[in-house]
């Protein structure tokens, strides 16, 4: 993933927020988790280990 991928994720996040929705991520490899941290996407897109914990967080 390069900066173009970051741009796509930010656009997706903006679209979700516009519709009062949250964006969560799960199943990311260490590599992608670090990219989320580096670019500070992780500030807005919570990262979860798996789908069930992500869904649990979404319901909370």
């Amino acid at each position: 993933m390069n900066s173009g991928g970051i741009g796509l994720l930010v656009k997706l996040l903006v679209r979700a927020q516009r519709q009062k929705q949250r964006l969560l991520a799960y199943g990311l490899s260490d590599h992608y988790q670090r990219i989320f941290e580096r670019t500070r996407l992780a500030d807005a897109i919570a990262i979860h280990d798996d789908e069930s914990t992500a869904l649990e967080a979404a319901r909370a």
């Binding site: 741009g7 903006v14 516009r18 590599h31 670090r34 500070r40 807005a44």
Partner: protein
């Protein structure tokens, strides 16, 4: 011992092209002429941490007639990045060059003759592109990517900004003069790149997309750390007392 690492232990091709995560800038004054204090201790910010509307601005130039490949264009761009900027701006290249994790200090003339000092962080780099993110205080919160690619057999160089104004003051200044300054900057840069490869008077195209028209009011307070405000109020601040054996030049 087999010197060849197994495929599973070998880093993927993308590994190493991203900088390591940082939260705060720490820059030693390397004598390159930039103001290291303007970024010291500041946090890295992305397109989600600014105040203003979110824009995607894309500037492109076609290197018609040039034989340079995208890799050659990016190599030249990285090796002398500041040389392609307008003379009103200074880019103090890191000693290690434009590689992931390096910080470059920059300074630029603002309206009124003031000098703004800030920096950029090399967040990503490969053979055909590289990207910067900014510290708190920089007029822009976001990511700027410089790239080159082949289109219809012609090498195209591109600057793409994915940015918000960092603070409300910058947001207000955008329609007044900020957009014009930015256009001039990147059009000049791409023309200089084109001229470097023998393409004279190249036409630069511009595409602007408003990605998010909402301002992020929770970042209204960013004005407190604005580099532009710091530059504007510098003449009115007292100089710090000079300790023996050190300098405190705030000019």
């Amino acid at each position: 011992m087999d010197p060849t690492p197994s495929p599973t232990s070998r880093p993927g091709p993308a590994e190493g092209q991203w900088a390591e995560p940082i939260r705060a800038f720490h820059v030693a004054d390397d004598g390159s002429g930039g103001d290291a204090r303007s970024v010291e201790g500041r946090q890295l910010i992305g397109p989600l941490q600014g105040f203003g509307k979110l824009w995607q601005k894309t500037y492109r130039v076609r290197l018609e007639g040039a034989t340079a490949t995208p890799t050659e264009v990016i190599r030249a761009w990285k090796s002398d990045f500041g040389a392609f900027w307008p003379t009103s701006n200074r880019f103090h290249a890191p000693l290690a060059g434009i590689t992931p994790g390096e910080v470059a200090l920059i300074s630029g003339k603002m309206p009124g003759g003031l000098t703004l000092s800030t920096g950029v962080y090399v967040i990503y780099s490969d053979d055909e592109s590289f990207s910067y993110m900014n510290p708190e205080g920089h007029p822009w919160a976001g990511m700027i990517t410089f790239s080159a690619e082949q289109r219809d057999g012609v090498t195209v160089a591109q600057v793409q900004l994915f940015i918000r104004a960092y603070d409300p003051l910058t947001e207000i200044s955008m329609p007044m003069f900020g957009n014009r300054i930015e256009d001039r900057m990147w059009i000049h840069t791409l023309r200089a790149i084109a001229a470097h490869f023998g393409v004279v008077d190249a036409e630069v195209s511009k595409q602007i997309v408003l990605v998010d028209k909402k301002r992020q009011w929770r970042y209204f307070g960013n004005w407190r750390t604005s580099s532009a405000l710091y530059a504007a109020t510098r003449p009115f601040r007292r100089k710090a007392p000079v300790a023996a054996g050190s300098t405190a030049d705030d000019s």
